[in-house]
C-alpha cells in the first residue's frame, strides 16, 4: 500500500545535484547521449503516420472534403472534433507553465518545458484542422481581418471569427512564452556544444544571452509578465472554442454551460496527454530523479479534479434538458443515450467518468503503468466526448426528415492518425534538439534544495 502522505511528500527532485551535474543530465540528452532504440522506434512509427498525414492532406486538397464522411445534417465531424481535442490538449502546457508559475507551485519546474512544447505542437495540429476542414481551404485567409481591395471585413458576429483571434493569440503567446523560457538553456547548449553547426545554431537562437545578473533580473520580470498574459488565455481559448457550439441553435450545442465545461475538459485531456508523454519520456531518458512520483501524483490529482467538473457538466446537461422541458433538448439527450451513437456516449461515460475514479487511490497514482493506462483512456474519452457533442447533436436535430447518420471514412481516420503521428514526431524531435526540462530552473531548484539542507 502506498501511503497517501508519503506520496504527496515525495520530493520534486530526487538526489543531490550541482549546477554542473544538472546541466549534464539534461543537456546530454541533446548533445551527447546516443539515440535510444525506443526513440528510433517511436520516430519511425510517427514518421510513417506523418507521411500518411501528408498523403491525406494532399488527397483532400486535390479532391475536396467529400473524401470524408460528412453529410448534410452532419456538416462537421472528425476535423472539428480533432480541432477541439487538440486545442484542449494544448491547455495543460500553459496551465502548468503560466498558471502554476503565478501560484508559485515549485513542482511545475521539471515538467513545464515539455508541457509547453506539447502545447505548441498540439495547437499547431489544432490550427491545421479548421483549415483542412474548409470547403475552399485556399481562401482561409478571408477569415482574417485585413484591409483589402474588396473593402470586406469578416463577420464579427460569427464565433469562427472569434476563434481566429483566440487561437491566433494563444499560439503567439505560447510560442513567445516557450521561447523566452528557452533562451537561457539555449545559451547553455551553445556553450557546451562541440560541433560547429550546433554552436552557431544554438548561438543564434540564444540571442546573445550571457547569464549576467541584469539579464536574469529582466528575464524574471518579463517571464512573470508573460505568465500573467498567458494565464487568462487558458480560460479564454477554450471558452471561445466552446462558443462555436454554444452560439449555434442546435440542441446539444446551445447551452451556457459550455465555456467552463470545455475548459475543464481541455485541462482534463491536457493533463492526460502530459502524463502520456511524461511517463515514457522519464523512463527512456532516465529522468526519474527529475520527474518524480510527486509530479505524476500532482498531475493525476488535477486530472481527477477535472474529471469531477466534467462529470458535473454531463449531469447538468442532462438535468437541464429535463428541466427546460424543451422537446428538442430532451430528444437530443435521449438520442445520445439510445440513438445510433449510444456506444460513443457510454464510452465517454466510461472513459471520462468511471475510469478516472481510480485516481482516488494513492496506489493507482503511484503506479506509472496504471497512470499511463488511465491517461490514454482519458485521451480517448475526451476525443469521443467532442465527437459526441458534435456528431450526435447534428445527426438528429429539428426536422426528422433530415436525420442522417454519419460514419467516418478511411480518410477521416487517416487525418486523425496522421495528426497524432505528426504531433508525436514533432515532440520526439523536440526532445532530441532542445532541453526537455528547463536547465536553468532545475539548477535553481537544486540550489534551493541544497540551501534548505544546509
Amino acid at each position: 500500500m502506498t501511503d497517501e502522505a508519503a506520496l504527496a511528500a515525495t520530493p520534486v527532485l530526487l538526489g543531490r545535484y550541482t549546477d554542473a551535474s544538472i546541466t549534464d543530465r539534461i543537456a546530454d540528452i541533446v548533445l551527447a547521449r546516443p539515440v535510444h532504440w525506443g526513440w528510433i522506434a517511436a520516430a519511425m512509427v510517427s514518421g510513417a503516420l506523418t507521411l500518411l498525414f501528408v498523403v491525406a492532406i494532399s488527397y483532400l486538397f486535390a479532391k475536396g472534403v467529400g473524401i470524408w464522411g460528412n453529410n448534410q445534417p452532419v456538416a462537421w465531424a472528425f476535423a472539428i472534433t480533432n480541432f477541439v481535442w487538440w486545442v484542449g490538449i494544448g491547455h495543460a502546457g500553459t496551465f502548468i507553465s503560466a498558471f502554476l508559475l503565478l501560484l508559485r507551485q515549485r513542482w511545475r519546474t521539471s515538467i513545464n518545458r515539455f508541457a509547453e512544447a506539447m502545447t505548441i505542437f498540439a495547437v499547431a495540429m489544432a490550427g491545421l484542422m479548421p483549415i483542412l476542414h474548409l470547403g475552399r481551404p485556399w481562401f482561409f485567409y478571408w477569415l482574417i481581418p485585413y484591409p483589402n481591395i474588396m473593402n470586406l471585413w469578416p463577420q464579427w458576429r460569427s464565433p469562427l471569427m472569434w476563434d481566429i483571434f483566440a487561437i491566433g493569440t494563444y499560439i503567439i503567446v505560447s510560442l513567445l512564452f516557450w521561447y523566452m523560457g528557452l533562451i537561457a538553456d539555449l545559451a547553455t547548449l551553445r556553450d557546451r556544444a562541440r560541433k560547429r553547426w550546433q554552436q552557431v545554431a544554438y548561438g543564434l537562437a540564444a540571442l546573445g544571452w550571457r547569464g549576467d545578473a541584469r539579464h536574469w533580473a529582466r528575464f524574471d520580470s518579463a517571464y512573470l509578465l508573460m505568465a500573467g498574459l498567458a494565464t487568462p488565455l487558458v480560460i479564454s481559448v477554450h471558452s471561445v472554442v466552446s462558443l462555436d457550439f454554444a452560439i449555434g441553435n442546435t440542441p446539444g450545442w446551445h447551452s451556457t454551460i459550455f465555456p467552463p465545461y470545455f475548459v475543464a475538459g481541455a485541462l482534463f485531456s491536457g493533463f492526460a496527454m502530459a502524463l502520456t508523454l511524461a511517463i515514457p519520456m522519464r523512463r527512456i531518458f532516465r529522468l526519474k530523479a527529475f520527474i518524480t512520483a510527486r509530479h505524476l501524483d500532482n498531475m493525476a490529482k488535477l486530472m481527477l479534479v477535472c474529471c469531477l467538473i466534467v462529470t458535473y457538466s454531463y449531469a447538468t446537461e442532462i438535468f437541464m434538458a429535463y428541466y427546460s422541458a424543451d422537446r428538442y433538448e430532451i430528444a437530443m439527450t435521449v438520442n445520445r443515450m439510445q440513438g445510433p451513437y449510444a456506444p460513443v456516449y457510454w464510452s465517454v461515460v466510461l472513459c471520462n467518468v468511471i475510469v478516472p475514479q481510480a485516481l482516488w487511490s494513492a496506489n493507482v497514482r503511484a503506479s506509472t503503468v496504471s497512470l499511463f493506462v488511465i491517461a490514454i483512456v482519458v485521451n480517448i474519452g475526451m476525443w469521443l466526448e467532442r465527437f459526441m457533442i458534435i456528431v450526435s447533436s447534428l445527426n438528429r436535430d429539428f426536422l426528422p426528415s433530415s436525420w442522417h447518420v454519419y460514419a467516418p471514412t478511411f480518410w477521416d481516420l487517416a487525418t486523425l492518425a496522421g495528426s497524432i503521428g505528426t504531433f508525436a514526431l514533432l515532440f520526439l524531435l523536440f526532445v532530441r534538439v532542445l532541453p526537455a526540462i528547463s536547465i536553468a530552473e532545475m539548477r535553481k531548484l537544486a540550489r534551493d534544495k541544497e540551501a534548505a539542507r544546509a
Binding site: G66, W76, P154, L160, N249, W403
Partner: protein, 974 residues
Amino acid sequence: MQFWRGLDELDGVAAPPVAAATTPLAFARRDFIKLMAAPLALAAGGCGRVPLEKIVPYRDGPAQDGYGKPVFYASAIARDGYGCGVLVETNMGRPTKIEGNPSHPASLGATDIFAQAAVLELWDPDRANTHARQGAIDTWSRFAGELQSRLRESHDGSGLRILTETVTSPTLHDQLRALLARYPGARWHQWQPVNRDNVHAGGVLAFGEAVEPRYRFADARVIVALDADIVGSMPGCVRYAREIADARRSERASQMSRIYAAEGSPSLTGALADHRLVVRTGDVAALAQRLADRLLAHGAGQAAAAPPDAASSWIDAVAADLAQHRGASVVVAGDRQPPAVHALVHAINHALGNDATTVMVAAPVAFAADSHFESLRTLAADIGAGRVAALLVLGGNPAYNAPRDFDFDAALRKLRWSAHVATYNDETSAACTWHVAAAHALESWGDIRAFDGSVTIQQPCIAPLYDGKSAHEVLSVLLDGNPQPGYGITRAYWQRAHGDGGDFEKFWQNALWQGIVDDGAAARAVARAAAPRAAASPMPVARRSDDVELLLAPDPTLGDGRHANNAWLQELPKPLTTLTWDNAALVSPAFAAWRGLDNEDVVELRIGDNAVRAPVWILPGHADNAVTLHLGFGRTRAGSVGNGVGVDAYRLFDSATRGLVASVGVTKVGGKHRLAAAQSHARMEGRDLARMIGKDDAARCESTGCAPAHANDPKASLYPAFPYDGYKWGMSIDQGSCIGCAACTIACQAENNIPVVGRDEVLLGREMHWIRVDRYYTGSRDAPRTLFQPVPCMQCEHAPCEVVCPVEASVHDAEGLNVQVYNRCVGTRFCSNNCPYKVRRFNWIAYTRSAPSLDAQRNPQVTVRMRGVMEKCSYCIQRIERARIDADRGNRRIADGDVVTACQAVCPTQAIVFGDLNDPRSQVVARKASPLDYTLLAELNTRPRTSYLPKVLNASAELADDEGAAGAEPRGRS
C-alpha cells in the same frame, strides 16, 4: 532517331512517298476548268437558302429586342404517348428549361417530372449521335437506300412490319395509314408496356367499342379511385391534380370534395385520399364488384349476404356517399385493373348519373386502340414463322421491355433486316441491323394529342444536335421515295386537315403561337348517350389468400425504363419511398415482420423458372401478402447513367399476367443491398411540423373566423425590425394541395443548375436538391396517413445561418432574401449546422460534370457552383431580377405574378405561391392571411418567410373512427 508521321507508319504500314505530295501540280488551263466545273456548280447551287422552317415564340414572347433574354416556344412533351403542352425556354437558341403551357388543357401551366427532365435528355452526352449499321457508324442516305430496297422486295409491302409505341400523332397516323393503303401487305404493330389496353377493352365490354373516359373532377364532390392513380400517373394527371386541388382548397373547406381510394401499392392518389382502403391490387376487382352490387339496381340483396370484413365499412361509406352525390361523383378504375372492372365502373358511373357531368366517355385518344399485348404477340409469332422480312421499330425499346414470353430480343436478332429509330442506341438498337439516331422531341417537328384529344404542334427549338431524324422523316422514305423534312410533312398534313376553308397560314401561326391546334374540338370529347350494357362480373381471381401477389408497375420516376439514363430522374426521390438510384421489392410492415425481412435484405422473387433478386423496402400502407417491384431498372444499354442501376423487373413480366402476378415466391437469400433513400426517418416524433386539420375546423375558420395559428409566433428580439420599404418577398405552401409529385424538386434542379451527385453520395446523405418533399406518416403503420411537406429555404427574417458565417457569404438583402454569395463562401459549413430546416446543400466535391452538351443545358442566369461552396434555394433570385429589369424599363413596380419561382410554376396544384408581401393585393398575402397559416419551427423565432397551410382532411363521419387509430408508429429506416 526515327520520327514517325502517323500511326500507320509507326505500325509499319508504308507511308505514301513524300515526294508525291511535294511535286508541284501542273494543270493545263482546260484541265483546271474541267476539274473546277463541278465545285463551281455546287457552290452556285449552295447559294440557295436553307428552307425556312419558322418557329413561333409563345404568345407574349419577346419582340426581337430580347437578345440575351430567354425566348419561350410552345410545344408538347409526351408521357407514355400522351402529350402535355409545354413552353420551352431557350437561351440564345439553347433549350434550357421546360415550363407548362397555361393554354394547354393537359398542362394549365404545370408539368409533371418527365417534362421537366426532357431537357436533360436532349442534352444527354450518351444520346446516339450517329446512325449505325450493325454497330458501325453509317449514314442516313445509306439507310434510306436500304429501307427502300427492302420495300421493293415485294410489290405490296408484304414482309414489312412497322412497330410503334402508342401513336397519338395525327401526322404520324396519317403517314401510317397512307403507307398501309399503298402497301397492303405491310403491317403496323404497337407495343408500349404502359398502355391502356384494359381501358379500351373495358369500353368494348361496356359499349361494344373501345372508349376512353375523361373526368371533370372540378364538378365531383365524391371521388372514388379504384387502384387509380388519378393525380400521379394517369393520362391527364397534371390537369386532374389541379382540378382536385381547386376543389379542396382550405379557404373553401366547406365545399371541398372527398376522395376515397382503394389500392394495394401506395400511390400519390392514395396519399391524397381522405379514406384509403388497403387491398391487394388483385382484390380491387372484387371490391369493385361489391361496390357495384350495392349501387346498381338489383344488387342490394346480394351485398347483404356477403360476410362483413375490413372492407365492408369502407364500401358502406363509399356507397352511401356516392348515392348522396348523384351526378356529382366519379368512380375511376386504374389502368392496370382488368377490363371487367372498367366495364363495372362505366355501369356505376352511369347509374349514378355521372355521364356527361363528371365522366365523359369518348373515343380513345390513341390511334388504333388495339391491344398492345396482342399486337406484339402477333409480331413475335410472325417473326418466328419467318413472315417478316423487314422490321422498322419507331421508338420504344421492345428488346428490353417486351413481355418475357415473347422472347422479343431473340426474335429481333433472327430478322434479316431491322431498324430501330430511337434517341438512344439501346438494347433494341443492338438487336437490330440499323440504329437510326432519332431527333429529340425538342429538335423535330411533330404533333401530339393530349389526354382529351386536343392537339399540339411540336416545334423544334433547336436544330438536331446529331443529324437525328424524326419518325415522320423515316416514314417519308417509304412513302415519298426520298426523305422529306419533318416540317413539310407536318405542315402538309395540317394543310390537308384544315381544308380549303379559312386562312391556313393564320391557323398554323395560331397553332404554333399558343401551343394548341384550334381545330374546333373535332377530336375532343364526344360524350356517348348510350348506356353501358349490363356489366359482366369481373372474373373471380382464383387464388388462396396466403398467396403473395406481385405487382410490376412502371417506376414513378423512370416510367417504363425509357428515362433510365436521365440522372435527374434517377436521383429524384421517388414519392412515398424517397428511394433514389434503385428499385426495391416494396412490402408492407406486417409482411416484413412475418417473413423476417428488414429493409435492404435481398429477396428472390420467383415465378416458375424465372427469378429476380431485389432488396426489400418496407413501405407503410402497402397491402399485406403483396410485393410491388417497379419496372424500368436493370438496363444494360441505357447509357453511362442508367446501366446496371437496380434490377430488371421485366424478367418477371409476361403477357399472361401483364404485370399483376397472383402468386410469387418470396425467399430471403441473405445479404444486403444498400438503398439510397433521401429520407431516413418517417415519423414526426410528436413535433409540430406538417399539420393536418379536419374539414370542419377549416370550415369554421372560413366562416366565423378563428384564432390565427400564427398569432403567437414572433417572439421578442433584441434587434429592431428592418423596414422593408421596397419589396418584401415571401412564399406560402399549401400542404393540403401538395400531392407529393416532386415536380418542384426537379424543376428547381433544371432552373438552378443543381448538380446530380450519384448513388454513393446520396447514401452518404449529400443530395443537392434545393427544395425537397418531406414525407411523414401518422396513424398506424399498416394504414398510415401520408403527409407531404415541400421544404425550400425558409428565407428566415432572423436567419441563424447568417450570423455564424465568418466571411459574410450568407447575408440578408434589403428585400428580405437570405442570399448566399458563392464566390465569398469558403465552406465552413457552420450555416448548415445552424439551419434548423437543413435546407443548405454543400458541394462536398466537384459535382458539376462538365461536358460540352451538358454545359449548353445550363441556365445562363445562374452561377454553376464549384466544389467547397454552400448553396441553397434563392427564391429564384434570377427570376426576380429578370422581372425587376422589365419593371424598371416600364418604370413600374414588379406586379404580382411577374415573378414566378420554378417550383411555383411547375406545381400542378398551385400549392406554392410566391410574391411581394408589401403588395396587399398579392396572392401570397391573401394566402398568408389565412388563420390556418403557420410557420415551421416557429418556436425558434427564426421568422421564416416561407409559411405553410395545413393539410385539410375531409373525413367521412362514418369512417372516422377506424382511421387514424393510435397504433404502432410506422417504421422508417433510422
